[in-house]
Subunit: 302 residues, 2 copies
């Protein structure tokens, strides 16, 4: 049961596993709701119902603008929002419009970005970049968006110039949860010095990653290495290998890290250890700022 | 139901997921049986029953020698067979003896090997090495044993000098079966030229592995890359990264690959592309030869 609010538009972050919505009056959040009705569990004709389940109490008689971003615009989503090609501004205005049965809904889906060579794609992060640039006018540099599939994005003159995706987060999840290392790695706990050492090991010898991984298991068996040490070391080995490959992005650049607070701070610490100070910005806040920028653009086209 | 045979000893390869037994008369295989009663699914008091289930028909009144190797000797196994420390011969004679209720059984468990720095362990592969050396007297060089956890082993004068384990096989399984790449990678099919190219990509830029992985997904989305190409490329990227890290093992060395036929051939091809011709030997055959060497040693101690 949501409070009775009368927004003038609704913001929605619709990813693979979750749907998050905000009742908005201009730039002010009146209310917030979320469900686990992510894109992955919905058939095409189930998206409208999943959205109504969260926002019906916020609707009035006239059509309500709903601005969404994320995997909702994938080929398997509600409506395919074809990728815009970089270099381009991240707030591409060719929104996709899914067909809604309920006349009180007017939904727009922000397209993701693609890159030809090396082949790469993003959906959702482009809106966080739009939000970051809306709050940091004229900002040039590199934005790192850590997560399941971490993105490194080169931004110049308001455009995304190039980007690169790393599977670091997904690899951490699989190795710590489903591989032989699950016996040796804690689900929480953290040893900062083990993390720092592992970052340095991977940055100086990135090709040794696959050997260093099994070494975590052997250290547990032979020396009873504490499991929070193994967890921090596993994270450091993977993030260090990513930093080694992403060096052309961050070396000598102005860097911002946009994502969940704890993970973003881990990346910022790792960059600081390489002499690169990074700005940290909250990912959810940037998503909302990006959706708001898209709404302003729709309401008052340039 | 097994045929009525009268072996003078029984060989057993008892790993994490499977138990394989052979009824032996000297070096001749009279019969063979297997089950999925691997170490991982058995409590300590269930091992004897799991063994009897396969071999009871081969027993006579007197105690039958059963020589086993593999994870059956792990701390969570039937009896812990403490690791021998390298450098040492792989056929360490201090077998562990689990307590058997049935007087017709006399079971021995071959210990694994450990290395202090870098920390590493093996269980089962030491017996394949013993078998390979029994069949190739005086052999010096490097033995690669590809599998879930691939081992590279430096052998000299009949001793294991040092070794290194890589999680390549387990990573391939997790990435192709449980990550976002499962949508883009076939469960079979093979493109040799894609494999060769990926081996070279990883050998020349091993630090780019994590970026090259997501690139497989993006190529599927943007260019509909065939899934058997993606499968071969994923394998090549991971094996190439392993070869980069294992270079000190194989560069300028005599190399033998011991393992399952198809996987061993893939490794041999990759090594050949780097100018290193490798001998290939069947892993199961080497295990049996190693168990046989252990039995001979027990029967006629040096």
């Amino acid at each position: 049961m949501t409070d009775k609010v009368t927004p003038d538009w609704i913001a929605a972050d619709w990813g693979t596993t979750h749907l998050r919505v905000w009742a908005m009056q201009g730039g002010t959040v009146l209310n917030h709701a979320e469900s686990d009705n992510g894109m992955a569990k919905l058939k095409r004709d189930q998206f409208e119902g999943a959205l109504l389940e969260l926002i019906e109490g916020w609707l009035s008689s006239g059509p309500m603008p709903v601005i969404t971003c994320g995997m909702v615009g994938a080929r398997q989503g509600w409506v395919e929002a074809p990728y815009a090609s970089v270099p381009c501004k991240p707030d591409h205005s060719e929104h996709a419009l899914p067909v809604c049965v309920d006349p009180r809904l007017h939904v727009r889906v922000i397209p993701g970005l693609k890159q030809g060579a090396p082949a790469d794609v993003m959906r959702g992060e482009e809106t966080q970049i739009t939000g970051f640039l809306a709050l940091n006018a004229g900002w040039d540099g590199v934005i790192c968006l850590p997560g399941t599939h971490t993105k490194w994005v080169h931004v110049s003159a308001g455009e995304v110039v190039s980007f690169q995706t790393f599977m670091t987060g997904e690899q951490f999840g699989l190795l710590s949860g489903s591989s032989v290392l699950r016996h040796s790695v804690d689900t929480d706990g953290w040893d900062k010095s083990a993390f720092d050492e592992a970052i340095n090991d991977s940055l100086s010898r990135p090709e040794r990653l696959s050997a260093n991984l099994f070494n975590l298991r052997a250290r547990d068996l032979l020396t009873a290495q504490p499991k929070e040490v193994a967890r921090a070391r596993l994270s450091g080995l993977l993030i260090g290998a990513e930093l080694a490959a992403a060096r052309p992005f961050w070396l000598g650049q102005q860097v911002a890290v946009v994502g969940a607070t704890a993970l973003s701070q881990i990346y910022a610490d790792a960059l600081a250890s390489q002499g690169v100070p990074a700005t940290v910005a909250d990912g959810a806040r940037m998503t909302l700022a990006g959706l708001q920028a898209a709404y302003r653009q729709v309401k008052e086209p340039a």
